[in-house]
Each structure stands twice: as structure tokens, then as C-alpha cells.
């Protein structure tokens, strides 16, 4: 199930009856994923601003600010949230011929 937390529960054969050993969760649920746009030498600032506005619904000022961050720093985290949605956004950005990727937020 997407996003479900899975925990391994093993019965410790060496322990007392009823002893339960909990492994660490197999998935880190609730950790948001960031959508990253990377700079490239071809796509213009106007095009990146327009694309960001269309895909994410941001206003002109915010889209411009994010685009300039891409331009000056080489990349910008333009959105964060659930992984499935991040994948959808990266797909749309790739269809717009922008270089984009997803990563765990905060990494």
C-alpha cells in the first residue's frame, strides 16, 4: 500500500515468552519529497517561469524567484510533498524538456 508503514516484528527466540523485537521501519513514511529543477544552457528564463506557473499554479513573482534560483545556484527545490505527486510533477517537467528530479526533502 503506498505510504504504508511497515514494521518487522520478530519473536526473539532467546527471550522470554512474549518478548517482541521490533525492527526499524522499512519505509520512512511521512518524509516529504522535493521536486528539483536543474539549470540547463538551453531553456530560457521566460520558458521556465511559464512552465513552473502552469505545472504548480504559482504566481508570477514566486515562479520568477524560483527560476532565478535555478539560474544562479544551478538548482531549486520548487515543491515538496508526497512522493507520488512529486513523481507526477517531475514527469510533467520532463515532458516540458526541463531537467528535473526528486529527492527526499532536507537531503
Amino acid at each position: 500500500m503506498p505510504g504504508a508503514q511497515i514494521m518487522c516484528i520478530a519473536i526473539d527466540p532467546q527471550g522470554e515468552p512474549g518478548t517482541v523485537v521490533l525492527d526499524a521501519p522499512r519505509t520512512r513514511t511521512g518524509v516529504p519529497w522535493s521536486v528539483i529543477i536543474h539549470d540547463d544552457p538551453v531553456n530560457t528564463i521566460d520558458y521556465v517561469v511559464l512552465t513552473i506557473r502552469r505545472i504548480f499554479g504559482y504566481g508570477k513573482d514566486k515562479a520568477f524567484k524560483l527560476t532565478m534560483e535555478v539560474h544562479h545556484k544551478g538548482r531549486s527545490a520548487v515543491w515538496a510533498g508526497a512522493k507520488e505527486k512529486a513523481e507526477m510533477f517531475v514527469h510533467q517537467l520532463h515532458a516540458a524538456q526541463l531537467q528535473a528530479s526528486l529527492e527526499r526533502a532536507g537531503e
Partner: protein, 199 residues
């Protein structure tokens, strides 16, 4: 090319008085866009290239199997629309018949008459995308993004590089009026306010 006209009411664009060289450069779009260098946008990496975790590998596999074929179809459709609009060209204002005989890669076509090409509003974004594909592929293959200083240094580059550079500049020039149409007819509010539920 004599001029590029934008119909501000309906967003149609017309390329007026294109010559044989310009037409040849546009007819090469499909070949240029699928040449070396096109992998960057045809097979984009959804994860950081340095991430070799099992999770990243899984997503890359999914991307190759599910997303990349869709992207290719989408990008092919853009190029097909450009080809269709080029095929529908009409003799230009100079009125002469077009001489067909564009020669092989690297040779100049025979100069003949001129033509007009109409880009209907509904194809503007496809043209933009097709031109972009070509520029991305050319830049990846020839590394065109650096400045040429002094201007005369262009002559020191290889013929293939110079041809790629001129093609890329021509495609970029055509993208400018198309971007104008895309911005004017985007339907987006012309203010700084966000309409996003994600803010």
C-alpha cells in the same frame, strides 16, 4: 526570412518569405533532434545521478519502462506537427516556385524562391517544443553554450560545430515569437498572486 507575423487576436504565427536554407534547417529538425545528445531529454533521470540506492534504481527502472515511452511519443508528435505545417507551406511573396534539392548534410541547398509557413495557434507549443529538442540535442553534442569571443573566433571552430551553432541560433530566434504567443495566450493571471493549493 522577411518577417515573422503574430496575429494578436488568435495567436497564429506566420513565417513570411522563408528561403531555401531556412526551410532546410527546419526540415532537419527531426534528424537533429534524434542525433547524439538527445538522450538527455529523451531518457531523463528522475533521481540525482549520484543516488544509487535501491529506491533510486527502482524508480529509474519504472521511469524507463513507463515514462520514457510516453515522453518519446509526445516529443515525436511535436516534430510531426512541425513537419505537417512545413508541408502546407505556400509560395511566398517573391512568388517563385521552390527548387527542391537540398543536398546532403553540410551542403548548401540550391537557392530558389521563398515560401510562407503558417503556424496555427494550436501548434505553437509543439513548434516551441520541437525547436527546443533540436537545441538541446545540438548543445549536448557540440557544447554550444559558451560565448564566442572574439566574434571572429567562430572561424576557428570546425565546420560541423559552426553549422550546429547557426542551426541552434536560428531555432532559438524562432522560439522568441512563439514564446510571446505562449505567454499572451497562457490564460494565467498577470499578477504576483499564487493560485496554487500547494502554497
Amino acid at each position: 526570412m522577411k518577417s515573422i507575423q503574430i496575429n494578436l487576436e488568435n495567436g497564429d504565427v506566420e513565417l513570411i518569405g522563408m528561403d531555401a536554407i531556412e526551410l532546410a534547417m527546419l526540415e532537419r529538425l527531426s534528424g537533429v533532434s534524434r542525433d547524439k545528445g538527445s538522450d538527455r531529454f529523451l531518457q531523463p533521470d528522475p533521481m540525482d545521478p549520484g543516488d544509487d540506492s535501491p529506491e533510486a534504481r527502482d524508480l529509474r527502472d519504472d521511469w524507463m519502462n513507463l515514462v520514457v515511452p510516453e515522453l518519446l511519443d509526445h516529443f515525436d508528435a511535436q516534430i510531426s506537427k512541425v513537419a505537417a505545417d512545413l508541408d502546407a507551406r505556400v509560395p511566398g511573396e517573391c512568388g517563385d516556385e521552390f527548387l527542391v534539392g537540398f543536398g546532403d548534410h553540410g551542403e548548401l541547398p540550391e537557392l530558389g524562391g521563398h515560401c510562407n509557413v503558417r503556424i496555427p495557434r494550436e501548434h505553437v507549443e509543439d513548434w516551441y517544443g520541437a525547436l527546443n529538442q533540436a537545441r538541446l540535442a545540438l548543445d549536448a553534442r557540440y557544447d554550444l553554450s559558451g560565448e564566442i569571443e572574439p566574434v571572429g573566433a567562430l572561424e576557428t571552430q570546425s565546420p560541423a560545430w559552426r553549422q550546429a551553432w547557426f542551426h541552434s541560433r536560428f531555432y532559438g530566434m524562432l522560439q522568441m515569437p512563439l514564446m510571446e504567443v505562449m505567454q499572451r495566450f497562457s490564460g494565467l493571471p498577470d499578477d504576483g498572486e499564487s493560485r496554487s493549493p500547494f502554497d
